[in-house]
């Protein structure tokens, strides 16, 4: 099992560009999450999904969009990149609303 896979690992964007961060999991988990982590800080929840076709906002959703068309995939979309979105983005999944979240290795995004 690969677990949670995030692509790309690194990316540099210019202000105003758009991109999609990919996340896929092979554990058949129904819950999936997107977090961002700024230097020296904890993780902040951006969006989450409790199953295919269902998404909801977390603590910091502004500037992002998500979709969940399949159980496996949960892409995060940045439409108009801003310097404030420079961060490390982590995707996670778990089976059910409690228990261990399984995290990917992150996408390091810089917006210049």
């Amino acid at each position: 099992n690969a677990g949670v896979t995030q692509t790309p690992k690194f990316r540099i964007l210019k202000i105003g560009q758009s991109m999609t961060l990919q996340c896929t999991q092979d554990m058949n988990h129904n819950y999936m999450y997107w977090y961002r982590q700024d230097p020296g800080m904890g993780l902040k929840l951006i969006y989450y999904s409790v199953g295919a076709g269902i998404t909801d906002k977390g603590e910091v959703p502004n500037g992002y969009n998500v979709s969940r068309s399949t159980t496996e995939d949960f892409p995060l979309r940045l439409e108009l990149a801003a310097p404030s979105q420079t961060s490390v983005y982590f995707c996670a999944s778990r089976q059910g609303a409690r228990g261990a979240q399984h995290f990917g290795d992150g996408t390091r995004l810089s917006i210049l």
């Binding site: 800080m41 904890g42 989450y48 982590f90 409690r98 261990a100 399984h102 995290f103 290795d105």
Partner: protein, 114 residues
């Protein structure tokens, strides 16, 4: 929303037992307590979870007093490889499975020395 407070950093030596305490004074009835470990350039990794009293697994113990306003992660006989940031997460499940209260604090940076 239950907020958590942890020490910013702790130092220890190999072979010692390390106890990291997390304060969560406004924990709700349906909140549970989860600890994660994070190494540089990696995603967090689950350590242990509990609701009350004591929970033990192969790598750690979690102590939760009766009032549940704090919890202590205990790492027995730490090694250099335990150097990492440790996060305490207090969160519950709202009706319908809402996850909006998943808030990680700044964590505790543990440094284990030889």
């Amino acid at each position: 929303l239950a907020k958590t407070t942890q020490p910013i950093s702790m130092d220890s030596y190999e072979g010692q037992e390390v106890n990291i305490t997390c304060s969560h004074n406004n924990i709700a009835t349906n909140d549970y307590i989860t600890w994660y470990q994070q190494f540089p350039s990696q995603g967090p990794r689950f350590i242990i979870q509990g609701y009350k009293t004591k929970v033990t697994n192969e790598v750690a113990s979690l102590f939760i007093p009766a009032d549940r306003k704090s919890s202590t992660l205990s790492l027995p006989r730490v090694s250099l490889s335990d150097t990492a940031v440790y996060y305490c997460l207090v969160a519950g499940v709202n009706y319908g499975g809402s996850q909006g209260n998943l808030i990680f604090g700044k964590g505790t940076k543990l440094s284990v020395k030889p």
